[in-house]
């Protein structure tokens, strides 16, 4: 069905799609960045040799008992506070019972009836519904991660690696408040930014430390009940989440339009085939037989402990974006981009601060350089802001040089290139290579006179009313000055000369 896709169908069927509303809820499993596992003292380091980070406790040997990692609790509370959730002072662990080779105890220790956080929300800018749409978060609970099974290239067997077993997870469950794949993408970006700001999860979807399952259903606009939903799994990037949702929405609408019914099932997304298929049915229907974990007494938090964490909360993306808008006069869009990660926001502020310290506090220009030239460069090299080839002071000084008229935009781009390649102080680079912008009227007038003499036809055309020629003439003057002339001054002097 991906081949015939609804987009290529007739108008009648296209409008059929418009009659449906999409309803999405997301379940995110975020690995918490603790040093040790949630119930034992094994390391959580990623990428170790198989089964070298296991012990009798996480491997569920006979007679062992879990002991809760304090840091995991702290991280869950912080996340709860960051999404304006209610942190429960009494929560409880429960066992979720099912058999699987990479679940050594035969049960997952999770939270069920009394999760640590309830009733949170975050706000997204929806591509369809506009700015500031509230997406409810039902709950956040703590649980253990399972191990990994390996199949490929192993003859007649599978292998079990339990290194990941016992890594602390937060399961963050949204309300079915999302109405499009675009909103799902925005929600995930926002949530990922928050957990990264808090330093509680690295947000790496490819490595699986930030995993997302999507519950998708459709219904006719105006219906009060939800349609039958399908759960989508194996979504290892935000792009894949969005593609899988789009595919699923089309699949369900097509099914319904053909008079069929959506069957509640779990479907595995295949990014290579750009399609999903039902997961092979388990031997029996799920019956997790949850019950309170007898090995762990209830978790009781004091209001003081929660308050102390609230006190110590860092500035979060929304608050930072709002401040950037006010403090730096940035657009909502620019502020949003710059606050998408704490590192980027810090970088930008350092650039702006350095430029300001040199007496040129045009933060808008700093923002443009960070989101424009620098972002493009990082993107090209596939690196994050942390690996930026430029230190904030270098970019800050460059911005100051532009503002004070020492460098033209064109020259600045050249200096930027050189700094990226070789490092160095932008001012010295400009001086050493004679890249100083020419703002001397006399020198510019000489160049203008030469250009006007060389292109008499164009001058005549201009004077006959063809204003477009102006651009060509400016270009020629710039060329004649090897791009060093101050463009504003060139414009001004040229107009004056032509008016003579």
């Amino acid at each position: 069905m991906s081949q015939k896709g609804l987009s290529t169908q007739s108008g009648a069927e296209g409008s059929a799609r418009a009659r449906y509303e999409t309803v999405i809820g997301l379940e995110v499993h975020a690995q918490m960045l603790t040093r040790s596992k949630i119930f034992c003292g094994c390391s959580t380091r990623f990428g170790a040799e198989a089964n070298t980070q296991i012990c009798p406790i996480c491997a569920a040997f006979p007679g062992v008992l879990p002991v809760l990692n304090r840091e995991a609790v702290q991280m869950a509370i912080k996340t709860g506070l960051a999404i304006d959730g209610q942190v429960r002072l009494l929560s409880e662990f429960a066992r979720k019972n099912y058999f699987y080779p990479d679940l050594p105890a035969g049960y997952q220790i999770s939270q069920y009836e009394l999760p640590i956080v309830e009733q949170g929300a975050l706000w997204i800018d929806s591509p369809e519904r506009g700015e500031g749409v509230r997406i409810g978060i039902t709950r956040i609970h703590m649980e253990v991660d399972a191990g990994k099974s390996l199949h490929e290239g192993i003859y007649g067997a599978s292998w079990v690696d339990l290194n990941r077993t016992g890594t602390p997870l937060m399961e963050i469950v949204s309300e079915p408040d999302l109405r499009s794949s675009g909103e799902a993408g925005e929600y995930l970006k926002k949530l990922r930014a928050i957990v990264r700001y808090l330093g509680v999860c690295d947000g790496n979807m490819e490595e699986g430390s930030f995993r997302c399952d999507a519950n998708v259903s459709v219904r006719l606009h105006g219906d009060s009940v939800f349609g039958t939903r399908c759960e989508l799994k194996n979504l290892n990037s935000i792009r894949n989440v969005m593609r899988a949702i789009d595919y699923e929405v089309e699949r369900q609408i097509e099914l319904l339009e053909e008079g069929g019914k959506v069957v509640q099932e779990t479907r595995l997304w295949n990014a290579d085939l750009n399609s999903s298929r039902p997961m092979r049915g388990k031997e029996d229907a799920h019956d997790y037989r949850y019950f309170p974990e007898p090995d762990l007494p209830p978790l009781r938090l004091t209001a003081e402990r929660v308050a102390a964490l609230r006190e110590a909360m860092p500035e979060l993306p929304d608050a930072k974006a709002a401040r950037f808008g006010q403090q730096y006069q940035l657009s909502r869009y620019d502020a949003g981009v710059l606050t998408s990660s704490r590192e980027l926001a810090d970088y930008f502020e350092a650039v702006a601060a350095h430029a300001a310290s040199l007496g040129h506090g045009n933060a808008k220009m700093a923002a443009n350089w960070v989101t424009g030239e620098l972002a493009a460069r990082l993107n090209r090299d596939g690196v994050e802001i942390g690996q930026s080839p430029l230190q904030p002071w270098q970019l800050g000084k460059l911005v100051a040089l532009i503002q004070q008229g020492t460098l033209s935009g064109k020259l600045a781009k050249e200096v930027f290139e050189i700094m990226c390649q070789e490092g160095g102080d932008p001012q010295q680079i400009a001086e050493q290579r004679g890249m100083r912008q020419v703002s001397d009227e006399g020198a510019i007038d000489v160049a203008i006179a030469r250009v006007l003499a060389s292109y008499p036809d164009d001058v005549a055309q201009y004077r006959a009313g063809k204003g477009k020629v102006m651009g060509f003439l400016v270009g020629q003057v710039m060329k004649a000055t090897q791009g060093k002339a101050n463009p504003a001054l060139v414009n001004q002097r040229l107009l004056a000369k032509l008016a003579e």
Partner: protein, 95 residues
């Protein structure tokens, strides 16, 4: 209270136990008898009673986030019925 053969089989599947037809019959009888014994609890009104999951009322004690184990792979894998190249080996899993 009685429990039928289908339920016994379903429970056995959930518990990952294989039951012979004779065992199914045996369990139908024995479990029904035990469940009948348990029906006595219905005589007690408990609507206002808080369930008790722990014998002693206490709160969880948390441990510090410290790595305390080194590599214990050899000792743990030595307990396993089948291992291969540092892994626990199991019959081929589908999916």
């Amino acid at each position: 209270m009685s429990i039928d053969a289908a339920t016994v089989k379903q429970v056995a599947t959930l518990a990952r136990l294989r039951v012979t037809p004779e065992e199914v019959d045996l369990y139908v009888g024995q479990l029904s008898r035990i469940l009948t014994l348990m029906e006595a609890l219905n005589r007690l009104p408990t609507d206002a009673v808080e369930p008790m999951s722990h014998a002693v009322a206490m709160a969880i004690a948390e441990r510090e986030d410290v790595v305390v184990h080194g590599n214990q792979r050899a000792a743990l894998l030595a307990c396993a019925p089948e291992t291969e190249q540092g892994h626990f080996r199991v019959p081929k899993m589908i999916e």
